[in-house]
Symmetry: D2
């Protein structure tokens, strides 16, 4: 039973570190710290082994996975050290040969500028979808894949201007046939996966795969389909801390966040349209947890010197008993790829498991992994994690 992992944005930081990490685990030079599926009770489930995952993917850049990891390693941030790189270098070269040129369709100007020879204006949507499906098929055939999981780890797209226009499968398919200029790459990748029964995970803030038409397709084909936006840094902390303020009835008057980051992601987010997509997906969490609206601005600024690191500063101004105003502030200094990569592996393993058990459609037990979990209103991290533990225990008892 071979599980294939097809990553959109395979040469980006998150995908490359996921791949390098999986191979480093396979070679026994690192452990599974950071992986949720390495903990009890998930570790007792019969999940595909990390060592056996077979990687491939799309990208619009030509810089190889090896070179991406080299750049991260040289940067000196400590995310992948030279010794580890040397151990996995051959594997990365092999995997990079399987990467196919993808599409940058409606990904915003910055992303389009990064693409070299990516399918964009010249092809019709139907052509692009057909090409993507062929790429999936070829990978499955060449690598003897029994189950293919597709994961989107590409840069953030501008948000869909009118998502309601695609709230049936029919509408989505008509849009593809009529070459609708508003459909972004992320819709096409997801459609191509789901229509052929491949589970699909959207790890990015892009909204293209969260439309109801694709949800309908996933349910119709009974294929797992989950997203949106891996919860790795500031929002992760928010989802752990906000329940404390709620639980103690402390009134949050304002919660301001400022994120500085230096990688490709930061460069793309500098572009305002793309930033709008990101900030929107961070927005409703606080209100959901607190139960009321609060002043909640989130800034994202590109600071090249930070490389793949992100620092968030959050300032929480709250009111307690007798109207006393108090403050909590935190800084979070995280290596984005290092936080995201193990979750990509966790998600692949858990949706493969769900698919094996015939559990199609959205996957609420995976809510804790996402900033905006599809189909789930619960944002309290502890309760989201409890949903996963309960799921695992149900399966273990069965």
């Amino acid at each position: 039973m071979t599980t294939g992992v097809w990553i959109i944005g395979a040469r980006g930081n998150v995908a490359s570190v996921s791949i390098a990490g999986a191979r480093a685990i396979a070679h026994g030079v690192t452990d599974t710290t950071g992986m949720v599926t390495a903990r009890q009770p998930m570790a007792d489930l019969t999940l595909p082994a990390v060592d056996d995952l077979v990687f491939g993917g799309h990208d619009i850049r030509t810089q190889s996975i090896e070179r991406t990891i080299e750049a991260i390693s040289e940067d000196g941030g400590g995310i992948v050290d030279r010794a580890t790189l040397d151990v996995v270098r051959e594997d990365l070269r092999e995997i990079d040969k399987r990467v196919r040129i993808g599409t940058a369709r409606r990904c915003g100007e910055v992303v389009e500028n990064l693409s070299e020879g990516a399918t964009t204006d010249d092809a019709t949507l139907a052509d692009i979808v057909s090409q993507i499906r062929d790429d999936y098929d070829a990978f499955v055939a060449e690598q003897d894949i029994d189950r293919l999981v597709v994961v989107n780890a590409a840069s953030t797209e501008p948000p869909l201007s009118n998502p309601e226009a695609y709230d049936t499968l029919d509408a989505v398919e008509t849009a593809i046939e009529t070459d609708d200029g508003d459909l972004p790459a992320s819709t096409l990748y997801a459609y191509a996966a789901l229509v052929d029964g491949h589970p699909y995970v959207n790890f990015t803030p892009s909204t293209g795969s969260s439309i109801d038409g694709l949800r309908e397709l996933a349910e119709e084909n009974n294929v797992p389909h989950m997203g949106r936006d891996g919860k790795t840094g500031e929002t992760l902390v928010k989802s752990a801390l906000a329940p404390m303020f709620a639980g103690r009835n402390l009134h949050v008057m304002s919660w301001e966040g400022h994120n500085i980051l230096g990688n490709q992601d930061g460069l793309v987010l500098e572009d305002d349209a793309n930033k709008a997509g990101k900030i929107e997906s961070k927005g409703t969490l606080l209100e959901e947890i607190l139960g009321y609206e609060t002043h909640n601005a989130v800034r994202i600024d590109y600071t090249p010197s930070l490389g793949d690191w992100k620092t968030a500063w959050d300032h929480i101004h709250f009111r307690g008993f007798l109207g006393t105003e108090m403050k909590m502030q935190f800084t979070w200094e995280g290596a984005d790829s290092s936080l995201a990569a193990p979750l990509v592996l966790d998600l692949v393993r858990l949706v493969a498991f769900a698919d094996e058990h015939g559990e199609g459609g959205t996957q609420p037990q995976l809510a804790s992994f996402f900033k905006s979990p599809d189909g789930v209103d619960e944002h309290d991290l502890s309760r989201q994690l409890q949903m996963l533990y309960d799921y695992a225990e149900r399966h273990l008892e069965a």
Copy 2:
């Protein structure tokens, strides 16, 4: 049905703000922000109304409650404003008349120095216990109290050197009869309450009431008995954040905390013996939540300029995927009394409710209120709160 609240340390900051706050709520000049029992589902329980609570207490100082609140107000920290003070001033004077001189027996040198005329060396333990019981009785009689809840909100005592010596009720009673020099004030107050069937809450880090002999007494008399050490600041945050690191399998290599505070509590904690008691009660939480030992130092320093405010700085050094080392830091700027006072009122209401329903002994549903909850190993804040919500819902369904 009148609920009386007898506070040990009635003229201290926490008690005084609890009393002033309850009266301010009664007069309609403040709301219940900060009170856990004001939230659903607890708000639907038939708890004693805050407005109707009747206060009294012991103290070893002669400075009145009114003066304590005036000092807090003048300090300019914004905890109690002048307008609120003016509204409750008469009530505070009235309540202060009911305060009786307590005992500073084995409370450490600093506390003993604060006491003026407190019962210490001259009286036997049996005399002191008898006097305390008389004080409780007189208050009940004079104020027509139907149920008396006793709350310890006094300064921290040095830890018991040999708590195992008191692990039966017999041992405790023998110690009192033989005038055992090691028994501190907090054991005496608790014994006096429980022996007469008054629910007892230990809001302080003092260990004198957490001995097994008193647990036996509480069970024998079927009277609610819960403690230890109100969870208001740094530890509260820890219990919300540590589960995030655990849940994401991020390995905490060190978690260092530094607390600076300027009130009476800070002065008492400067004394190393008393500090030992405090730090001990903060200690095991991380290991319980994380599941492994980590380097975890907690410093408490007295910084007079801060008045009743406490600032904690925590530095968390953790390791993620591929061995990447990352950091989170936070500062918490809290007004101690303002955070503690509403919890005192919550606890009074909830133990009165438990007593009404014949639920004696330790009260696990109250774990979220304490740094070292008696009889409970769960330190994850969300799970502790869930225990309270489940308790409330069980009662609402019944």
Copy 3:
């Protein structure tokens, strides 16, 4: 010898706290903490006494100075307490009667929306200037003023689009005569002061008085003229810290700043055009001190819950020996008005002193007070302060 102080924006927070503070000092209920002129060697100069300053001013709002201070006091931030307000209340009422309606000409949409009946579109520039001069004259006459110092403490205007157009006095006077639509209020107030020989201090980031044409006028009339933008918070800290990095040859790769503030100023700065003015005046300091360009973003966000308080978070990423990358971060929690007000009084005293000694034109000894000191390239705080000490000592020796 009576010194009059005419403040543009007299009913705003900075002006109101300056006035209230001066009167509180006069009544002996506060001391001179925060005033640079209260330190040696400046304290030995024969400066006008704070007690004797006579206040008046322009504003475009109708809310009185008393009401502004009341709002600050009620806000609970501790800037002006109730007792102090009561002592100065009568004085504030008296002073408020002397406030005249000013002009909001080209101050940006947000400021114009705040104005009620302010001179804007209907009057010609010449009319407005004439009215301002009449207001100055009337104040001088009514209050028996011997020397009038005019201080701009109004909200920030959008920056002049073409300041070079006004680099001679002739050009400025022609622009006034021809009713040039680009000339903002701050140019008019400054022109009206300087043309009649009143020293003029621009405490705001507005660039309207920093044009060369007004510099020419100040020199021609030998009248002191200094600005721009009181250095009170994040920039003050920068000017103290950046020389440390420079002096130690530590290479600053990025210096990111995020400011959140809740007052009128924050509201006005939310408007992008006005923000451009503010951020520009913060910009060159780092490069001047470090000697090279660095990534240096400054964000300003309006956070209403903070009231008159401003919190800045700065993140400094620097490289040391052997390429080691290190970090410094700071937060500054300051009460803007409380930091600015004593500097307004200092500046009034020091320009009055300069005027008394016949020292017209720009005033380099005052560089330490400003983010963008007119005519001074030195931004190192210690060196700027040394310029003031040297100035004072020269006068003391003379």
Copy 4:
């Protein structure tokens, strides 16, 4: 003209990184970032070239310099990367052969436990001094050294209990002859250097070389002699920031500092006696700059996970105009060795220069390098740096 550099504690982190860095500069694989002498006007002085410095030293451990650098490199903190290590590896081996076993005499229990075969109890003081002088001589002879500079970079000793006992050269020499049990290693190393005319720099907090008897010796022999305690982290920032509070007449009510660090230094400082020495040397700076006493606690805690990194958190509580209380907080995340090493090279070059110019005794122009500069009361960093710039310019003009 060959300049020799003899480092006490040559195999420790600071010395090893100084040596590795100097060799990396010589091989052209790193630049002089972090070195004060690489800046103008110092760079124009005729200082010994970094490339030409010849290193040797004493240590009490047997772990080689190469191994110390390897450990730092493997630690992943980014202080010395693998590529740089490979370039200098041969040089480090060569230099390590010149390291002689030193003395741990009265260095405190922790340091003594680190020593393996170090001269301690068996030899008399006179023997030890004689051995040290022989070691210096042999190095000079073998390496053809024209001028030898001795630098103490060893771990902190407990402070001298009675430094006044050694306030004449006679007293010191008598103490050596009579084998005085209170004289620590650092006195012996310094005496041995100064008596033979070798300039001596004390980069550590140890007080053994700051006694008046050695000052007398340095003056008598006209040999440069300077210390104490390299100013690299929290104290450096303090000396830059405190003048800002002073200059603006903002009253510092408390300045609390908490340092966590993970290296050898941290381990040694855990020992209370040694810590006393460190904290004492940080103590008076604030009062000197502010002009009044303030509440100023400095904590140092050993946190092994930090390796050679040190994080300081400082909390500054200050009062401004109208009594408003405000706060500044900062964190400093520095790599201790990386900050200290370039200063060691700077000091060697500058004392060699002073010696060349016949400037014996204490060296006030070097005050900016030290937490407790011998013979200098000025602690304001900018003014200290100005002393160095003035010194350099005096020499350049001459």
